[in-house]
């Protein structure tokens, strides 16, 4: 018997390559001498190209090609990495005659060197006809300026999109009698909250290289979370069959959802297809800031009613989401802003409605939390406001009303909460932060004011009824295994987690499982690593696959022992007779036998999807320290408790949580995509777009309160996204408790705090 890896602190399988700096990332392994691809980007927020002169650029020594809108296919597609049919409208071209944000590509340059490409960019002469720009998303719906008036704009799904109204999606749903429930409420709060666009700011920017293989197929090596979706997107964009495209992902330097949009692939793919030569594009940090796939800016109107005893009667959320120039992930992120915030509480009735609008800003995309982050900031702020209005402890109001195990969640597609320890999470977090002693505020000896605040939280585990995970396992002839995966380890450690599961199922050391992931030619189909799906969905495929493979091993072994499969067992090394364990045959012998004069392959493939998406739950609490002289805010302590079901790898789960929390602290206190009046992104470097450093916070501490999810592998749910949601509301609530000022817009910066304090003091 081998040891169990479940809940262990097993090192990531790729740790040594990563920590010793081995060349394992996209640019490290790009072919020597490949063409450098660069993009000329629009300086205008909305314009129509009247003419482009490329002849001067083409004369630069080393320039191989310059492409404009006249050179590319005219069928529209989406860059959103979603399962077909994508809910995001087909509104893109590789290059378009109409440019829709500052940074929208105008021309593609391919050159032998970066210097030649840069010089060519400067020599392309473009005449623009300027068009009115829609820069305030409040005015976008039914604006006379249309972002996508083109006739071949189309949407494959009924998501309420209408290009003649600047709508990428709209809709509503409800259950129960909302008006009656509010009429019967003694206490009602109704407020509007605003979350800004934020950058994933993964350390490795977007990048891709391409080459034609020996069979004349296009090979695409890219830093992506979605190899199979990229293959389809490229097929749509280039107008070539998917069978002519192979997409491979090496190690990825972070994703957080940014690389769930095919941001960089189409450009070198087009160049390589046209020229036949290897080519690569490496986004600069500037490009990754101004033309990427950040979080959707949202404005959320929340109304919550409670009866005299404090029981919630109704919750209503209306979300206005700014998808920017293209619809990528717009229709789906907005859904989570209601469907993963309202179900945190029991209430008699709910209503959720939304509009997702096009504007002339960079297209938003998928960012960890995917709309739930925005929704939970709003709902968890509003619950706090309700508690203060009622004069009760916000923690007690939450304990009284939170969703419990066994509850049906009407706003969560009617699913039942089958695994849920959120009440324990709240209790643990209250104790850890010292809620009873610290709530609401303390004045420190240095004059600083400290306050505590908290937030409940949920996410999902995969997209129910849609996401597919698959695993192939092969027995190698030395008795080890090769595991083929289509998901994408972007640092999360899913290659390791799935190998842990396989090692437990197959009773072998994890070293016996060799992993190959993310290659459309070799991997079984997987929708990709997003929506908190891999541990839960692909994990279950792994369990199924191991069972199937074990069955084959037993059957072969029994055959070699001249008995029936029911008479034998497998201990990871040997198949032996239950009645007489001395009669045994090793896995190595079985695998050799299968390779000689055998018609049976010792391998199995299993796929999995889930009709449900069990939410992981979490509670986070922040203690903030505010200097009333300067407005400076620091999170001095952050306590969190997470119910992700079974913890598969304690280290990796903990680091997911710590990392997500700090990203959330960044969103809450400093990160902000800011545009000027002409629609230019001013937060275009790490100088202007600040990320949290090691000295920007005090301590982050995470505990686990595992439930057991019956539909998950080994009882596991997800953890990747839920961890980013609590800081924004917990910090806003803590700030209110500290200084009595409610911030309904993020980020809560020192400037905003100081201005508000001055206003409060009548200065």
């Amino acid at each position: 018997m081998s040891k169990s890896y479940m809940g262990s602190r097993t090192r990531k399988k790729d740790w040594e390559a990563l920590t010793t700096g081995q060349p394992v990332y996209t640019d490290d392994i790009a072919p020597v001498g490949c063409l450098v691809v660069k993009l000329l980007r629009s300086p205008h927020a909305h314009a129509r190209i009247q003419s482009i002169r490329t002849d001067l650029a083409m004369k630069v020594p080393g320039v191989v090609a310059v492409y404009t809108w006249e050179d590319v296919p005219q069928e529209r597609f989406t860059l959103a990495g979603q399962t077909y049919p994508e809910p995001s409208a087909y509104d893109r071209l590789i290059l378009d005659r109409e440019v829709r944000f500052v940074g929208d590509p105008v021309a593609i340059v391919a050159a032998e060197t970066e210097e030649a490409a840069d010089k060519a960019l400067r020599l392309i002469k473009v005449q623009y006809e300027l068009l009115p720009a829609v820069l305030d998303y409040h005015t976008a719906k039914d604006n006379e300026t249309l972002i996508h008036p083109e006739e071949n704009w189309h949407c494959l799904c009924p998501v309420g999109a209408d290009n003649h109204r600047n709508l990428a999606a709209s809709g509503s749903c409800e259950e129960g009698d909302v008006e009656k429930a509010f009429a019967e409420s003694k206490w009602v709060v109704e407020e509007t909250y605003h979350t800004k666009a934020c950058q994933q700011a993964m350390m490795e920017t977007f990048r891709t290289w391409c080459q034609m293989d020996a069979y004349g197929r296009l090979t695409v090596v890219s830093s992506t979370q979605i190899v199979f979706h990229v293959r389809r997107i490229l097929s749509n964009a280039l107008g070539i069959p998917k069978s002519r495209i192979r997409v491979v992902k090496p190690r990825i330097g972070g994703g957080f959802g940014a690389k769930q949009t095919s941001v960089s692939e189409i450009y070198p793919a087009f160049v390589t297809l046209k020229t036949g030569r290897p080519s690569k594009i490496i986004f600069s940090r500037y490009e990754s800031q101004i033309a990427s796939s950040p979080r959707h800016e949202m404005e959320l109107r929340v109304k919550i009613g409670a009866d005299e005893a404090g029981n919630l009667k109704a919750i209503e959320v209306y979300t206005l989401s700014n998808t920017g120039a293209y619809a990528e992930h717009g229709p789906t992120t907005v859904g989570l802003s209601g469907h993963k915030s309202i179900p945190l509480y029991r209430s008699e009735a709910f209503r959720f409605s939304y509009d997702v609008v096009y504007t002339n800003q960079m297209s938003a995309g998928a960012y960890r939390g995917y709309g739930a982050t925005q929704g939970i900031f709003a709902v968890e702020s509003a619950i706090d406001e309700l508690a203060h209005k009622m004069g009760v402890d916000p923690a007690a109001l939450r304990m009284q009303n939170m969703v419990r195990q066994g509850d049906r969640m009407p706003a969560y597609y009617g699913e039942i909460s089958l695994s849920n320890t959120m009440d324990q999470c709240l209790q643990k977090v209250k104790e850890a932060i010292g809620w009873e002693e610290k709530y609401p505020r303390r004045v420190m000896p240095d004059g600083h004011i400290r306050g505590v605040g908290l937030s409940l939280d949920m996410q999902g585990s995969g997209i129910s009824g849609v996401d597919v995970g698959s695993v192939t396992l092969r027995v190698s002839d030395d008795g080890g295994y090769t595991m083929l995966l289509g998901c994408a380890d972007m640092g999360t450690g899913c290659d390791t987690i799935l190998a842990q599961m396989a090692a437990d199922m197959l009773n072998c050391p994890i070293e016996s499982i060799a992993v190959l992931s993310g290659d459309t030619d070799a991997s079984p189909y997987d929708s990709g690593s997003y929506a908190s799906s891999t541990t839960y969905i692909t994990g279950m495929a792994c369990v199924k696959c191991c069972k199937e493979l074990t069955g084959k091993i037993l059957s072969y072994g029994a055959e070699m022992l001249s008995c029936q499969p029911e008479e034998v067992e497998f201990d990871g090394e040997y198949v032996f007779k239950t009645e007489d364990p001395a009669q045994k045959v090793s896995l190595r012998e079985i695998s050799y036998k299968a390779e000689s004069g055998s018609g049976k392959a010792l391998e199995a493939t299993a796929s999995h999807y889930s009709p449900t998406s069990p939410p992981p739950y979490m509670v986070g609490a922040a203690e903030v320290d505010i200097d009333p002289e300067t407005g400076k805010l620091q999170v001095v302590q952050y306590e969190a408790a997470v119910d992700c079901g079974t913890v598969v790898n304690e280290n990796l789960a903990r680091v997911q949580a710590e990392g997500g929390i700090l990203q959330g602290i960044g969103m809450a206190t400093m990160e902000d995509v800011i545009y000027d009046q002409k629609g230019r992104d001013m937060s275009n470097s790490f100088m202007q777009y600040r990320l949290p450093t090691k000295e920007d916070f005090g301590k982050i501490h995470v505990q686990f309160c595992p439930s057991y999810e019956p539909s998950g592998p080994f009882g596991a749910k997800s953890i990747g996204e839920v961890v980013i949601n609590t800081p924004s509301p917990a910090i806003a609530n803590a700030v209110y408790n500290a200084i009595g000022i409610r911030f309904r817009e993020l980020p809560i910066t020192a400037e905003k705090i100081l201005l508000a304090l001055n206003e409060k003091d009548g200065k």
Binding site: L18, R251, G254, S284, N649, R654, E658
Partner: protein, 157 residues
């Protein structure tokens, strides 16, 4: 305009011709030191940290010509140490995507040389590593790994 320069790269004397406007980061990657990563181009993330004469510098804003006559060290030149320190990071799961790891390693190994007699405190570690951004980990695992590493190294001494 290209300039001939001679410098010691990971203990080996190298002579190359470099354009005047080329940064050390590109030069080192071109010479095969792929551990040197570009993160921000504005000296703001620490990914491209290498040593010049044993002191950490950000190679994205040091011109390659400045290396003339100096000793440059990248993680390729510190492999045995990197693996030992990397094990501590891996024991906390702190490497995550790994893209910032080489810069972090270079900074931590430089710090170790600045504290020959004692293990630095947690506050000193936080301060020393402030310029090494990481978007995955939330840093706590980096701190835990560094504290454990320095403690163990001191006990061995």
């Amino acid at each position: 305009m290209e300039y001939p320069i001679t410098f010691t790269l990971n203990g080996v004397k190298r002579s190359v011709s470099v354009p005047a406007d080329r940064y050390l980061l590109e030069q080192l990657r071109e010479m095969g030191c792929k551990s040197v990563k570009r993160g921000c181009e504005t000296s703001g993330c620490g990914l491209c940290t290498v040593w010049m004469d044993g002191k950490p510098v950000l190679s994205c804003t040091v011109l390659a010509v400045r290396a003339d006559g100096h000793q440059i060290t990248t993680l390729e030149g510190l492999q045995p140490e990197a693996k030992i320190l990397g094990g501590y990071l891996a024991d906390e799961g702190g490497e995550q995507c790994g893209y910032c790891a080489p810069g972090l390693m270079m900074t931590l190994l430089a710090m170790e040389r600045e504290y020959p007699d004692r293990a630095p405190t947690e506050a000193e570690i936080r301060h020393y590593l402030e310029g090494n951004l990481c978007r995955c980990s939330g840093y706590e695992s980096h701190i835990r790994a560094a504290v454990a590493y320095f403690q163990d190294k001191r006990e061995v001494k």
